[in-house]
Amino acid sequence: MPRTEPSREELEKRRIVGINKENVTDVTSTDFPGHYPGEDHAWDIEKFRDGLQIEFHQNDPLLASFSLIGVDASIANAFRRIMIADIPTLAVETVFINNNTSVIQDEVLSHRLGLIPFKGGREGLDNFLKWWKKPTDDDAVPNYFDYNTVKLSLNVECTHNEDAAPGEKDPTKLYHHAHVYAKDIVYEPIGRQTQYFSGENAIAPTNPDILIAKLRPGQVIDLSMHMHKGVGSDHAKFSPVATASYRLMPTIDILRPILGADAEKFAKCFPRGVIGLEKVTKNDAAKKGSGYEGHEGELKAVVKDAMRDTVSRECLRHDEFKDKVRLGRKRDHFIYQIESTGQWDSDAIFLESIAHLKEKARRLEQQVVNMVR
């Protein structure tokens, strides 16, 4: 079988997942050796390097958005899954309740405390803090050390505010500590933690205004907490991301001209900014067979920004656009959206997920070598 190379148009066509009124076509990737006779689809790192593109759309500490173009869904999904479930963060794991006379029960309060995201110095979180192993009965020494446990405490008592104006109804003014917030949690450094978590590197809630409980005069919450490192597969509180997701790049092909009032209706079928309206130019109208003949000056629909489309398929529901538009998605164009909870920077979470996948593969390679030995 002679080696053949598919044409550019053919390759472009293969990238598209068809989105029709009732069904979705060409979902699976076909870029494997043996799928197309005579074509070579063997893994080639140089080809992969040439085909791979990354474009950033936004890069803030708490939200990163970028396009990863030229990878298979299995790889893109591995990164996404690792970001959610395998990147370690620090979260409250144990709560020691000394006194809790609030209306919120101990176990519910503990759960709420566990879900509060914390931030702290990167150097300390990455390199200094190590995994904590749950102590067993056999352990002679309990394994709580400065390098695996972070101690926090929360000690609030609600009291009457003597200075409150007479007739005041607002409980936050009438009482002290009527609301317990995440900012009331106090970090207590132990041992070498002072080197890593002091000043602006101190361990503190990312969002200081998270409401933990409401109290009334006489009620007390007095507890201390231990934080440990963990991963999202164990409990969602350890996940470094609020969301980490991707979607495929939408494509909109206008096959035949959509003009006048139809064009305006067409634009309304999409989110704002996706479809633009332009006047048919003299050149357009002069072109034979373009469908624009004799329509100079009328409005025509053009695709302005397909990325903003939500692929609602609304335009496929109307008969006037039948056979005039084709929707699709690019199979290898992933638009990632990563929202960090604050302990990591969003872009660092993605980098860490790549490193994690590599490390996983490296370890297993060693394991396979050991298996054969």
Partner: protein, 160 residues
Amino acid sequence: MARSKAKQDASQSAGEDDIVMQEPPASHQPDLDETDASMAEGEGEEGVEGEFEDEFEEEEPQRVKLLPGSTPTAASFEFLNEGHTLGNALRYVIMKNPDVEFCAYAIPHPSEPKMNVRIQIWEAAGTTAIEALEKGLKDIQDLCDVVTDKFLVARKDFKE
């Protein structure tokens, strides 16, 4: 008719020249602690269960094992504590290998932390399923390096 006879043969005398296809689902296998008769043809592919400790790496129990019934060109592997994350990515890169006739992964039961990978090599390729698995794991590492490089460049460009 012929099929039912073959089946009978297999169950009676483990089939002289029939290929025996009577493995129960992998997850029901007892732990492989002694050499399995059906793997005698693969050189040095005994089930290793924690016999070899890693000298240069931190001690990690053996998490990959060859399932019984495997031959050099057609093998099933069991990965402990791995899931779809690695399974699907690994399946993809192994399928990209032209020597591979078939590759698939499965998680036999969701409540067991096991992931199985099946690899079949073209007989004419002159390589083994284990080599294909190793190549797949290497390719993932190369891929990760490329993505990291491009990501860092893209992030730097975006900042400017």
